[in-house]
Symmetry: C2
Subunit: 110 residues, 2 copies
């Protein structure tokens, strides 16, 4: 997956609740279901340009939310530490199922 | 601290970046610095009612953001597991400074 597509997938995941239903639909079709702009335009009976503009504006909104709230940034930092923690525990306390379960609970929260 | 005040402090903490500067100022004075509505009104040369309305609207916005993004809810769940993890580690691996440091890193992210 292209880096931008992956980033938009993440940002969409974190901030989709703040978008309008139309923005959500276009973004989901384009980024999650890999529809082309033309296919979305056809389905919604609007111009390809209108779909393009809407998606570009939504992308900018998602980046603005990320700038303000930093949910992806924080998520990535958390993931990094959780991975180090899991790695450390499996190397040193691999037999402790209770400890592993606690870390897994944390791992599955995100 | 009253329960509502504490909740608003948390919500403000999570979502303040999404408020306007005026909303931020009123909320900070009222909830963080414990100014009265009258004192804020005097400082901004507006009516007490205007301050009251603005703060009530901002509170509703913060609750809407929480409903959509759930940052406080997720934070509380994460805290709970981290506390159990710290407790477990201090009881079973109290001498392992490296393990404690990793969990502390996680603890300090929020």
């Amino acid at each position: 997956m292209l880096e931008k597509t992956m980033r938009m997938n993440y940002l969409y995941d974190f901030y989709q609740a703040l978008l309008t239903p139309k923005q959500r639909n276009y973004m989901a079709l384009y980024y999650l279901d890999d529809y082309s702009l033309g296919e979305i335009a056809e389905q919604y009976e609007v111009s390809r340009q209108a779909v393009y503009d809407n998606i570009r504006r939504t992308e900018a909104m998602l980046e603005q939310y990320e700038e303000k709230l930093g949910l992806l940034r924080k998520y990535e930092r958390r993931r990094q530490i959780i991975e180090r923690l899991k790695d450390y525990i499996s190397r040193h306390y691999g037999a402790d199922a209770e400890l592993a379960a606690l870390v897994n609970e944390l791992d599955e929260l995100d």
